[in-house]
C-alpha cells in the first residue's frame, strides 16, 4: 500500500475552492447510524498496535474519488478493514504489542529556530505520510512558539511505532501570502523542525 503517494491526496483540502456552505446541523447526533458508533469504538482495537499516524496514512490511501464521496465513518471503516487485515487480527488471537503514545508533557526544549525567526516550509514531496498541507509548502512564516515535542509522523506512519520526539513549532503565516491580497487573517500551523528551513 505504501507505493501510493499520500502527499497531495484528496484529504489535503486546505484552501481548495468549490466546496459549498458548511453543513451545520441543528440536532447534531454524535453518530448518524448505529454502525458509525460501532466503527468508532472498533477503531480503538485496530489502532492499539500501531500509531495514530499510520491510521491517518491508511485513510489517505483511499482513492480520491472514493474519499470525496464517502462519509467520515465510511472512511474510518475502510481503514479499519485494512488495518485489521494488515495486523493479522482477522486470523489470529494474539494482539499486536501496544505502541503507547508519548507523554504529552515531553519537554520541547529549544530547537534550531528561535521565536520570531522567519522560516520557510520545505517543499519535500515524498510518497508517504506528511502533516504539511500543500497550501503551506514553500511558504514563509514566523515562528510564534515552540508547541511541543513529538515523534515524526512520517516515520511513525511508515513503521507503526513512535520514534524519538522532534521539536514542533507553531508558525504564523499572513493570509495574504497564502491566498492573495483579499485575505486579512493569519493562519498558524504546527510544523516539525525537519519540515522547516531558515529563511535568509
Amino acid at each position: 500500500m505504501w507505493n501510493d503517494p499520500a502527499v497531495d491526496g484528496a484529504h489535503d483540502l486546505g484552501g481548495m475552492h468549490g466546496f459549498g456552505p458548511v453543513p451545520i446541523e441543528t440536532d447534531e447526533p454524535l453518530f448518524h447510524e448505529p454502525w458509525e458508533g460501532r466503527v468508532w469504538a472498533m477503531v480503538a482495537a485496530v489502532r492499539r498496535g500501531i500509531t495514530i499516524d499510520r491510521f491517518r496514512a491508511t485513510i489517505e490511501q483511499m482513492p480520491p474519488a472514493e474519499y470525496l464521496t464517502s462519509s467520515y465513518y465510511e472512511r474510518w471503516l475502510w481503514a479499519a478493514e485494512r488495518l485489521a487485515a494488515e495486523q493479522g487480527l482477522l486470523e489470529r488471537s494474539a494482539p499486536p504489542p501496544e505502541s503507547p503514545l508519548p507523554s504529552p508533557a515531553t519537554p520541547a526544549g529549544s530547537g534550531r529556530f528561535a521565536v520570531g525567526q522567519r522560516v520557510r516550509v520545505r517543499n519535500a514531496v515524498t510518497a508517504g505520510h506528511t502533516r504539511v498541507p500543500r497550501y503551506l509548502r514553500r511558504q514563509v512564516g514566523a515562528v510564534q512558539r515552540v508547541a511541543c515535542a513529538w515523534p515524526n509522523p512520517g516515520e511513525s506512519a511508515a513503521t507503526g511505532r513512535y520514534g524519538e520526539p522532534e521539536v514542533v513549532y507553531t508558525v504564523a503565516f499572513a493570509g495574504a501570502d497564502l491566498f492573495g491580497p483579499g485575505a486579512d487573517h493569519t493562519v498558524t500551523a504546527d510544523l516539525a523542525e525537519s519540515d522547516l528551513e531558515e529563511e535568509r
Binding site: L13, E74, A189
Partner: protein
Amino acid sequence: MSPDPSPAQRAEVLERRLHDHGHVDPEEISATVAAAESASGNTASPALGARVVARAWADEAFRARLLAEPVATLSEYVPQAIPIAVLENTPAVHHVVVCTLCSCYPSGLLGNPPAWYKSFEYRSRVVREPRAVLAEFGTEVGPGVELRVHDSTAEQRYLVLPLRPPGTDGWDEERLAGLVTRNSMVGTGHPLGPPATAG
C-alpha cells in the same frame, strides 16, 4: 452479481471477525458508544469544556494557570493524552481552530467533534475565507479584529478561551458555564448572553 455490501453490513462483518479472535467485545463496544452519547460535565464533553471556561472567567489565578500550564491544568479534570494549548480571545484577536488534513480536535476535553468540523466544506474553506465561514454560523467578528485560524497539523490540540460576555459581573461559575457553547470553544461562535462587543 450481488450488490456491494452496505457500510452497516461491512461493519458487522468486521466486528464479528474481530470478536471471533478476541480483539473486541460487542458488549464493551455498546457500552463505549452509549457512554460517548451520554457524556456529561464530568467526562470529555462540551459541558466539561464549559466548566473550564467559566472557571477561567471567574477565577484569575486559574485562568493564568490554564494559559501557562494547559496540559497539567486540564488533566486535573480529565487526563490529557495529547499536548493541548489554550488560545485566549481578546477584543483585538479572535481564534478559530480547524484540521484541514483530517479531524484533529480537542476530543480529550470536548469529546468527539461535530459533523461540521469534519466536513470537507469547513476543512477546505476556513483557512481561506474564515469571515465567510463564520458568517454561515451566524458569527460576526468585527473588521478591526484580527482573525487567527489554527490548522491542527500536529499532535497539538487547541481550546479557544472565548471573551466573557459583558453584563455578567458577579455571576457564579455555574451560571457562566451555561453561556459557553461548544462552538465558542472552537472559535466558530461567541458565548451566549449579551452579544460580545469584540470589534
